[in-house]
Amino acid sequence: MKKLFYYTAFCLAVIAGNSCSKIDNYPAPSDTINGSTIDEGTGATVQTEIGGGGTRVKLLETSYSANPTPEYFQSMQDGTFNDDKIFAATYKVSVEGPFVPLVTTDNTGTVTADSSQTIKLTSKATLNFKVQPFLRVEWVGKPVFNADSTVTVQVKITRGTSNPNYQLDITDINLYVSNTQYDGNNNYDPRYSKLVSYSGSTGTALLGQTITITTMGGAMPAQDVYFRVGARINAGLDEYNYNAPMSAKYP
């Protein structure tokens, strides 16, 4: 009996000692794609929002399949992107966001334009996409605290594209207030942010003008806050174009 026990123990020890000598793992993806989405007209990056609602980079791994399932990663708020966990392969890369799409189709599904970039990724690739944002939102001066501790900002909105398909009416111009710089349609303080929807061409009539917006809800709390203005047209996924968030020190 005892002998049997020792035999069994010996066998188990041999098995345990030998079984895991080969770790059957591939190296983790370690290549990098970075770059930015750049406004063709101004050379500045196109501001967007974080979370699922803003600019994202689309990867089609064409070396794997002629018709691959797309992979996406999200751009940062300032319009730059960086993903350092990508496998080395051949990719067709494009960006999607609040600008004229890089891949356009007509109303029958025929691809009419495709400015995707195809890269053979080995270690690192930097890609800059020149795009035409639907709208450009620019600060005019800085946010100003009023006597009643509300804040007034001024912006100017212009079109970023002359593409006739995207000369649509402006539907929303919103002043977002947040206590972080990650300020946008998906993250704002509803007590103070001023959201205005426009119907017909009333919003469009403000193009090129200096637009003055004041926070709502009375006096702002005594803390540093960030302001940002977003505007959109009813195109694509109705995403917003923004200006860069700007903070204002409580007086």
Binding site: G109, D172, N185, L237
Partner: protein, 645 residues
């Protein structure tokens, strides 16, 4: 010799004994068992109908179809109501559903396909009429299932024959790509058309409205085709696959064809069903109210077209347990999950309103108007509103439902000014205000010496939200005869009316209005038809009638629909197909109406404001097309994902 006999015997046994080993297993139900008798067919039908995707008492966008726990109720995603468990807009949480919509729907479609393929071989057991009717039902269920898929996802694979996989062979032919959205809507129409052609006027197996007949199929065809028409007209999201199939969106040119189909299908029910008017009286608002209440519980209603019945303990729901007002709370401890918003209530007639349509709670001098009872503000309210919403102070189950935000102890001489500036989203200032954090209250001594609890029995409690957080509680569907001890989860059995004639009329009116505005004309005057229908609905509701057909807009038709079908899980789909969800819920904070008692005046006043929780509703336009479950794409990479996911 004997030896030979043994050999012969052995040979004989071997050659004869095993002749019949290849027999069907006795412990598995075979096609002949199911398809040879009406009872077998009924068992098959029971499965098909139980799988039928309907947004009934057991549905919520959060947890899906046929799930018991309804604490993020559908109306709290549409602006009809606020709920403590729903704090913003949402798309259907398809990936988190208990019943997977994708594989569940294709299981149902396969069940239908199998039935359609198999029944004809056994047709000799039955009369032709029976066979046709049952085939009609299978097509009806399949049409409903495609409808449930296409309204969520757009184009989906069309699988109209059972797929059989042989182990070891390629799975490529099982990976069926998505068809165009238009093709799927046409599939829905053709399935319903087959059902209409083959089903009898009354279902001979069950004529209580729980199984389909010709008119049930026609009613759902009107709903589906109206859906397709509005998508063609209002949708702006498009998606094509590599073969140029339009997976999302329908060419706008197809809109009128669908509207016409919706109109024609709705018209088939003319004279077969009618609006429920059993206890209605043209002159008595109380009778009109009671009539609208009874409509949802009268099993013999001439308005119910298609219903889902429940039976304890096999198939139950918990509508009352989740939704009774706080003071009638059941033993499970749930209550008041659906609290209608002021935005919703303001759609109705018979309440004093400002010129911009908001409720008039202030007098001419800008002070609060004062009332002896909270119901005085709603003295002339449209009966349908009372039958849909429990207004503060209204009677239910023999009690007055007491809804009060707090007691105002400040001066009342010369009028009480609003507690907050107009439009403010701040909390109420607590000077001069006595409130209660929970239902355990400390009574306040009024100037006369009487005691009064700061909050009503059904709220509003500032510390917990198990109360009428909007100032209203839902009335529709609640069973007034259910004893409080029986107000339990998984205990309610009132019938869900999935399709009633009022909806068919409203489908018809909307289709007619859309046809007319597209410059179409038919045998009937479309505008006049829509006008007559809206007034029929309004008359039954006790609402103010339209004066002229010319004054109607598409919003007249839509708002009527939202009032009539509120809390029936229909508005969610209407806002979706009109593509107005993202317009209505665009940084929106819904409004509420808070009743206060002024201790000094001895009267009530109302404050209209935005949701005190500051819950923001923003509907993302990409949600108009739901995300195809990632698991389905992994299994079948030919499926193209919808835009934005």
């Amino acid at each position: 010799m004997k030896k030979y006999n043994y050999i012969l015997l052995t040979l004989f046994v071997c050659l004869t004994a095993c002749r019949k080993l290849d027999i069907p297993p006795k412990n598995i139900i075979q096609d002949p068992d199911v398809f040879s008798t009406p009872a077998g067919i009924q068992a098959y039908m029971a499965r098909l109908y139980s799988e039928l995707p309907m947004e009934d008492f057991r549905y919520s966008p959060q947890r899906g179809l046929n799930f018991f726990w309804i604490i993020s109720p559908t109306p709290a995603t549409t602006g009809e109501a606020l709920s403590r468990d729903q704090t913003g807009s949402m798309q259907e949480n398809l990936g988190g559903w208990n019943n997977d919509l994708w594989s569940g729907s294709y299981t149902t479609i396969r069940d239908c396909d199998y039935f359609i393929q198999t029944l004809p071989a056994y047709a000799s057991n039955f009369s032709t009429a029976q066979v046709n009717a049952w085939l009609g039902e299978a097509y009806f269920v399949r049409g409903m299932t495609y409808f449930a898929l296409v309204k969520r996802i757009g184009g989906v694979p069309i699988v109209n024959k059972t797929l059989n996989y042989t182990v070891g062979t390629s799975t490529d032919e099982l990976k069926i790509p998505r068809s165009s959205e238009q093709a799927v809507w046409d599939q829905v129409a053709s399935d319903f058309d087959f059902a209409i052609a083959n089903l009898p006027a009354a279902n001979t197996d069950q004529a209580d409205g729980s199984r389909a007949n010709k008119y049930v199929a026609a009613a759902f065809e009107s709903r589906a085709m109206l859906y397709a028409g509005t998508i063609a007209k209002y949708n702006t999201t498009t998606l094509f696959d590599g073969q140029k199939n339009q997976l999302c969106g329908i060419p706008a040119s197809a809109a009128n064809g669908y509207f016409l189909k919706a109109y024609t299908a709705a018209k088939m029910l003319d004279g077969v069903y009618s609006l429920y008017l059993k206890s209605w009286s043209a002159t008595d608002k109380t009778a009109q109210y009671q009539n609208f209440v009874n409509l949802f519980s009268d099993a013999s209603s001439s308005e119910s077209i298609f219903v889902r019945e429940y039976q304890y303990p096999n198939s139950v729901h918990g509508y009352d347990a989740y939704n009774v007002p706080r003071q009638l709370i059941g033993p499970n401890g749930y209550s008041s999950e659906v609290n209608p918003t002021l935005d919703f209530v303001e759609m109705f007639d018979g309440i004093p309103k400002n010129s911009n349509g908001t409720i008039q709670n202030l007098d001419a001098s800008g002070h609060y108007a004062l009332f002896t009872n909270t119901m005085d503000l709603f003295a002339n309210a449209e009966p349908r509103l009372r039958a849909t919403v429990i207004l503060p102070g209204d009677a239910f189950k023999g009690e007055n439902i007491e809804i009060r935000r707090g007691i105002y102890t400040g001066p009342s001489a010369g009028g009480i000014s609003p507690l907050l500036p107009a439009g403010s989203r701040s909390q109420y200032p607590l000077t001069n205000l006595v409130v209660s954090a929970t239902s355990t209250q400390t009574a306040y001594t009024l100037p006369g010496g009487t005691l009064m609890n700061p909050a009503g029995l059904s709220g509003i409690f500032t510390g917990d939200q198990t109360c009428a957080i909007s100032g209203f509680s839902v009335r529709k569907w609640l069973n007034p005869n259910l004893a409080t001890s029986q107000v339990l989860e998984n205990n309610e059995t009132q019938t869900w009316i999935e399709m009633r004639y009022a909806e068919v009329l409203l489908n018809r009116a909307e289709a007619a209005f859309e046809l007319n505005s597209a410059g179409q004309s038919g045998a009937t005057n479309y505008t006049q038809d829509a006008f007559t229908i809206i007034n029929e609905i309004r008359s039954r509701a006790g609402a103010t009638l339209l004066t002229s057909a010319g004054a109607m807009t598409i919003d007249t038709v839509r708002i009527e629909r939202r009032k009539e079908l509120a809390f029936e899980n229909k508005t969610y789909w209407d806002l979706k197909r009109w593509r107005t969800f993202s317009k209505e819920q665009n940084g929106t904070i819904y409004r509420i109406l808070m009743p206060f008692y002024s201790a000094q005046a001895g009267k009530y006043f109302f404050d209209a404001r935005t949701d005190e929780r500051n819950d923001v509703y923003t509907y993302d336009p990409r949600w108009y097309y739901e995300q195809i479950p990632q698991g389905a794409i992994s299994k079948s990479p030919n499926l193209v994902q919808n835009p934005g996911y």
